[in-house]
């Protein structure tokens, strides 16, 4: 049994996005895919405002729009749309994502997906509704849908499969590192193309790259008998060392990366000097928060609080063990967090994108957590990017003139809130 980590669960009144935003990176990662969301105007408006630029690229995602007349029909008719998508975009696979409204309507998605699926272009159901899934979580659902399409590896095929979508540069970095350590690699889930999915079987070691993939990891064990590595996630020198040493151990390779880790810390000393003793408060929603807090703590900062949408005692066990003594909160209440921030005066708040500007407006040095999701922060090569994301806001704030602390420079910007009382002192 994993150690019983101490964390509190609050009531979840904080700001965030639903799982549909995962489409923003997944449709790019899986290059021959199409993401069809059965949803409403709300889903379309969300995607437009979070991924607006992609329209230009003939996006490989769209909303199958439920309008008033469609609410009464027991099962929505999407065959024509699937045909249109197949004709226009030639995808190898179509992901059919659920959303809140069809979920409330009790649309039978498995059957719906099956009814339009063909051997040439499978249509896979992906639960992603905001009723149950937040932000990066629906990548977990997408990967689960892909499992049946991973070839069955024979028991004697002992290789690693890296779990989680990363870009090609990061993937190359992991391939290179694995070959340097003599670790055989079967591939990545997801792969860049639907037909390149890695073989997975009882000999496979699953190495999770992202902390939001607990369910698919579990299912790979149940369905294929694969072994899921329990380690730190490969963020920061400390995370990378543990990740690679643990992975090597699965292949009976004894590897000591202490020098590698020390060299990596030495390279970012300029940043860690700045972070030393700084009080950091994590109030973000990407599900990357636990490893980020663990890294920033190892880098010398004091973590006042780390809140994250969900904590999985088993999947996050190693990270939790290193966060002993840190106030961990699941499903935070944002108003309570504001009171804590006013009380504890953090030097840096990692917030979500929704609250970043208002926090800054209240005199807080804030960095939006979303940027960690969209930046190459994995592995040894990502260490500098990772630490820079933490220090950039601190440095910029220190460089700017002190004028910004005077509310006069925000006057008139927000009609409903003429006076903003700073949360920070001095």
């Amino acid at each position: 049994m994993p150690p019983k980590a101490q964390f509190t669960r609050e009531d979840g009144i904080y700001h965030s996005f639903c799982g549909l935003v995962s489409v923003g990176w997944l449709y790019q990662k899986i290059k021959d895919s199409f993401f069809l969301i059965l949803g409403t105007h709300t889903c379309a408006h969300l995607l437009q405002n979070t991924m607006g630029v992609m329209i230009f690229a003939r996006p490989r995602f769209a909303i199958s729009l439920l309008e008033e007349a469609d609410l009464s029909s027991a099962q929505p008719a999407i065959a024509d749309q699937i045909a249109e998508i197949t004709r226009e975009h030639h995808p190898s696979v179509i992901f059919l994502l659920s959303s809140c409204t069809p979920e409330v309507m009790k649309v039978e998605f498995e059957g719906l997906a099956q009814s339009v699926s063909t051997p040439e272009v499978p249509v896979l159901f992906v639960p992603a509704s905001g009723l149950d899934f937040t932000f990066s979580q629906s990548e977990d659902s997408v990967l689960q849908a892909l499992i049946p399409f991973c070839p069955e590896a024979p028991p004697d095929d002992k290789r690693v499969v890296f779990l989680g979508s990363v870009n090609d540069a990061i993937a190359d970095d992991f391939l290179f590192e694995a070959s340097r350590l003599g670790i055989p690699v079967a591939g990545f889930l997801p792969a860049n193309h639907f037909h390149e999915l890695p073989p997975i079987g009882p000999g496979t070691i699953i190495a999770p790259l992202q902390p939001f993939l607990a369910k698919v990891a579990n299912q790979l064990t149940n369905d294929r008998g694969a072994t899921v590595m329990s380690s730190l996630f490969p963020f920061g020198p400390d995370g990378c060392r543990a990740f690679w040493e643990d992975l090597a151990a699965h292949f009976d390779l004894k590897v000591d990366l202490s020098e590698r880790e020390a060299a990596s810390w030495a390279r970012i000393k300029e940043h860690t000097d700045l972070l030393k003793g700084k009080k950091v408060f994590l109030s973000a929603d990407t599900l990357l928060e636990l490893p980020l807090a663990r890294f920033i703590r190892a880098a010398g900062a004091e973590v006042l609080e780390c809140s994250t949408p969900y904590i999985n005692r088993r999947f996050h066990a190693r990270e939790l063990a290193l966060l002993d003594g840190v106030r961990l909160v699941e499903q935070a209440n944002f108003e309570r967090q504001l009171r804590s921030i006013a009380e504890e005066q953090p030097d840096l708040v990692i917030s979500n994108i929704i609250t970043a500007n208002p926090l800054i407006g209240h005199g807080v040095v804030a960095k939006w957590g979303t940027e960690f999701i969209f930046s190459p922060i994995h592995g040894w090569a990502g260490v500098n990017t990772l630490v820079s994301l933490f220090t950039r806001a601190l440095r910029r704030h220190a460089r700017l003139d002190p004028l910004g602390n005077d509310p006069v420079w925000m006057a008139g910007v927000m009609p409903g809130a003429p006076e903003i009382i700073p949360l920070t002192r001095g």
């Binding site: 405002n49 999407i78 940027e371 930046s375």
Partner: protein, 564 residues
């Protein structure tokens, strides 16, 4: 059911949020799944709000539904404790409205001291504009109280709102005008208004409601209920502003004449007093439009598409004050289509008028027309990039690039200058263009590069490219460079020929002409910034004449035919 990629209007709850975030001491509570709070971002990122937007999601989760938990009363208590609002407006979401819960009872159970209003905004029947206008009108009806008029002439300004198109700038422009006229502003709403301010609305002599979309129904209500005169025209352009000023003065003097002790009648001051320095022309547009440089604009065709107010105002401005021909116009506010069409009688024929909220139809129309200037929303900018057309944004929905720092109103004399500047800098090149046309590329060739859009939407900031840079760049470049892989239709043709949503007749049969090397070489001699359009026009010419291969000869013939 249909496939949708883009939406012009936001949702009903976004409309509610816009009104609540405009006002003081009011708050919106969404009874919704957590993700519906995404609308917050649009405020914090586009308007860069230094405060937290006045909206909270009372989370409904799958577990709550299974257990029958209703968290609304507790959320309302938390909002009251933290925000101390005078009014909370509760609104359901597209999913929770299907649950048919009685939110009135739930709201009542919370036992709040402040007022709680459950606003019935059915997201399947109402979008952003109707929800905002409906809520604002309801609030005015609820709070406006009969009272004596102010002793001196005064106006209400209804309509400016959070995330309204250039609303803050328009309000500055209007305030400047009223200051110059010596007329007090009684109440501005919803921008910056409290519910107490709404109570004071009937004290004004006149209500100004320049936007068709927000404030008009409230102005009409105040007129019907309290006899407050209403002026619902939009002063967009110099001539409309002059007429509007006359109407303001006349209507205020009519009210003044009715009073027992009338103040002396208002007179329009010399027009120079409306300028920024008080001694210049109030707008530079009339002279600018007559200068030699503007001659080249007189033949440039424009297509205008947006909300109702800006489509009408800008179309008339381009035609009447800059002398530009109008290739077509339209609105995505389908419910306002009749009004827009009637306003544009004599400017746009019924055949050239487009009323649709389907992005692809607008893109197809623009692709067919290839106008020299497109005035649209941020979505038409995407279309413009695809066809290499000049686009300026004249209406919501907007993009972060439309939220600039400098004073850029659309209303009043100041607004006329802003719009004209935007037109001339967007269209580019008067005399300069002749020179380049005469002498070829003038060494500018080296500058050519595929236009890459700025990475910009709210959530996906710079790091986006980090996920799959190759995919992004490849996808982005494809539509702009015009070289489609063999067997694929080339860029512009693809969407006009293949789009199933289009209601437009497409020329048939569609043959996609192939360019020969000498044809391409000749095309290269056309200045790069008009080359994309030239390519499109020549391909169109070839298709219309059943020519499958574009040689240098065909290009020359096309040039001659097109008069280019």
């Amino acid at each position: 059911m249909r496939l949708a990629y883009w939406m012009y209007e936001g949702t009903a709850h976004h409309g509610v949020a816009r009104v609540m975030n405009s006002m003081r001491k009011t708050h919106a509570v969404f009874h919704a799944p957590q993700g519906d709070g995404y609308v917050n971002t649009i405020f914090t990122m586009l308007e860069r709000t230094p405060g937290f937007p006045a909206m909270t999601t009372s989370v409904v989760s799958g577990t709550d539904l299974a257990r029958g938990t209703l968290r609304l009363p507790e959320t309302l208590r938390q909002v009251e404790a933290a925000q101390h609002p005078d009014l909370i407006v509760v609104v359901a979401s597209c999913s929770t409205i299907l649950l048919q819960e009685n939110l009135e009872i739930a709201a009542h159970q919370s036992g709040l001291a402040c007022e709680v209003m459950v606003y019935d905004a059915n997201p399947y029947r109402m979008q952003e504009t109707a929800a905002a206008e409906g809520l604002f009108t309801e609030l005015v009806k609820k709070y406006a109280t009969s009272q004596p008029l102010t002793p001196m002439p005064s106006v209400n300004i209804l309509g400016p709102s959070s995330l309204g198109f250039h609303a803050r700038h328009d309000l500055i422009s209007l305030r400047r005008i009223f200051k110059t006229l010596g007329v007090a502003v009684n109440v501005v709403a919803p921008w910056g208004a409290s519910v107490d301010d709404l109570r004071r609305l009937p004290a004004a002599w006149l209500t100004i409601a320049p936007y068709r979309e927000l404030g008009r129904l409230a102005a009409e209500y105040l007129e019907a209920q309290f006899g407050t005169a209403a002026l619902c025209d939009a002063p967009i352009g110099v001539q409309p502003t002059l007429r509007w000023l006359d109407a303001v003065v006349e209507q205020l003097n009519t009210v003044g004449a009715r009073l027992a002790v009338p103040p002396s009648p208002l007179k329009l001051p010399p027009l120079t007093e409306f300028s920024l320095d008080g001694m210049s022309a109030p707008s530079n547009v009339p002279w600018f439009a007559r200068t030699a440089d503007m001659e080249s604009f007189s033949g440039k065709k424009a297509f205008v598409f947006g909300d109702a107010t800006h489509t009408v105002g800008v179309t008339k401005f381009l035609a009447d004050e800059l002398g530009m021909p109008i290739a077509g116009a339209g609105t995505y506010l389908v419910k306002e289509a009749d009004w827009v069409r009637s306003q544009l009688q004599g400017y746009v024929s019924d055949a050239d008028f487009l009323a649709t909220d389907e992005f692809q139809q607008v893109a197809d129309r623009i692709g067919q027309l290839r106008p020299e200037l497109v005035c649209g929303t941020q979505m038409e900018r995407h279309t413009g990039r695809r066809y290499d057309l000049n686009v300026m944004v004249i209406s919501s929905p907007t993009h972060i690039e439309n939220h600039l720092l400098a004073y850029r109103p659309f209303l009043g004399f100041d607004g006329a200058d802003v719009i004209a500047d935007e037109v001339s800098t967007t269209c580019t090149l008067g005399m300069e263009k002749h020179l380049i046309d005469m002498f070829g590329d003038a060494g500018l060739e080296l500058v050519e590069s595929p236009s890459v859009p700025s990475a910009d939407p709210v959530l996906v900031s710079n790091g986006k490219a980090a996920v799959a840079p190759v995919a992004v760049v490849a996808d982005v470049v494809k539509p702009t460079n015009g070289h489609a892989p063999e067997g694929q239709p080339s860029n512009g043709v693809a969407s006009s020929a293949g789009a199933p949503t289009s209601g437009q007749a497409t020329p048939a049969p569609v043959v996609n002409p192939v360019w020969t090397a000498d044809g391409e070489a000749m095309l290269k001699k056309i200045p790069f910034f008009v080359r994309g359009r030239a390519r499109g026009n020549i391909e169109k010419y070839a298709r219309e004449h059943g020519i499958a291969t574009i040689t240098a000869e065909v290009l020359l013939a096309a040039k001659e035919h097109l008069g280019a």
